[in-house]
Symmetry: D2
Subunit: 109 residues, 4 copies
């Protein structure tokens, strides 16, 4: 994944120029990711479904992605691989004939 | 980004086979992303910094990434672009000479 | 619960003086509560278990409690009642002989 | 606050019967609180503003409140006090003449 690897390099460089790897244990990375997901969600608070500020949406999505990438990188995970594996699992949890057109969780199908 | 586009295709196919796009407004996608980030965080609850179950870590990270990708896709965003833009902004918020070796937030530097 | 009712009155007055009840649908209250819980969590980011700023801890806990109280009030719930009911349920999910001294989730006991 | 103190006693008893205080450092309590807030939010995922299951709403709200109470208790905080203090601060951040009828955040008023 040449583009992802390029991005990871830029993210690592930014982190290492500031000597921040010392803080990047997995638990705090997961906390940071959760906080960024919350900041993204805040763009919709008290608003309609499509009313988030578009510029801020880009920035908060970027923050979420960066922490997700830092975690995958720390654990030597390949993004393509883990997503494809999860889609396979989801195919079993959410068979098309049962899940089509409904938002029910898998344990309610 | 050929690999990302390939992944997005798989994610879209999974969604469309189940006719789920009707539920995927931006606010609910942000809510879903926040929930997945929380499920990832739960792998560390009451535990040490590196004690999350590795298999579950892969699965929850995949879930976070999938919702993040669905949101970028919905808004026609290029992942490479938005991350590079954010790194540029962060370079200004966290200048190396002030931010090096400290975990302080930008407004405390 | 006289003290809780007093607090609720103050919270309602603050809201109504600003004509904010129009925004307080249950979903957005739940989103707000989640965001405040995240802001509380952020006080511990990159830090040790007991290193949160004590003044900010009070403020963020107050924010979490206020949104929780607004939700219970909106649904006519009695805090004492719902907590006692949940403790009863937890007694079954986490029997002392199985749960004592372990942080395992109920489905792993 | 006699009723709150009674509730706290029940919560402490439940915790101590299981010897769980050893896990209850402040950071993990904040993580747990954030996770419960997320489980509450999940009741609204893909749904309308008032479509959460009422029974589950009670249970998740109870979980949120219990962790909030455990944190206030651990830090010797009085719920009435911290909420009243926050309302005072909010009175300044959100003056009625500026904040009335708008959902804008204080830094956008």
């Amino acid at each position: 994944m040449t583009d992802i690897e390029q991005l990871l390099q830029q993210i690592r460089n930014f982190r290492d120029a500031r000597d921040w790897q010392q803080f990047h244990n997995s638990k705090d990375l997961a906390v940071a990711l959760s906080i960024e997901a919350s900041e993204l969600l805040e763009l919709f608070l008290w608003k309609g479904n499509e009313e988030a500020d578009p510029q801020k949406l880009k920035e908060e999505l970027a923050d979420v992605l960066m922490y997700a990438l830092l975690l995958t990188d720390k654990h030597g995970l390949d993004i393509k691989q883990i997503i494809e594996d999860k889609i396979k699992r989801n195919n079993e949890k959410y068979p098309v004939d049962k899940a089509k057109g409904t938002a029910k969780k898998y344990n309610e199908l």
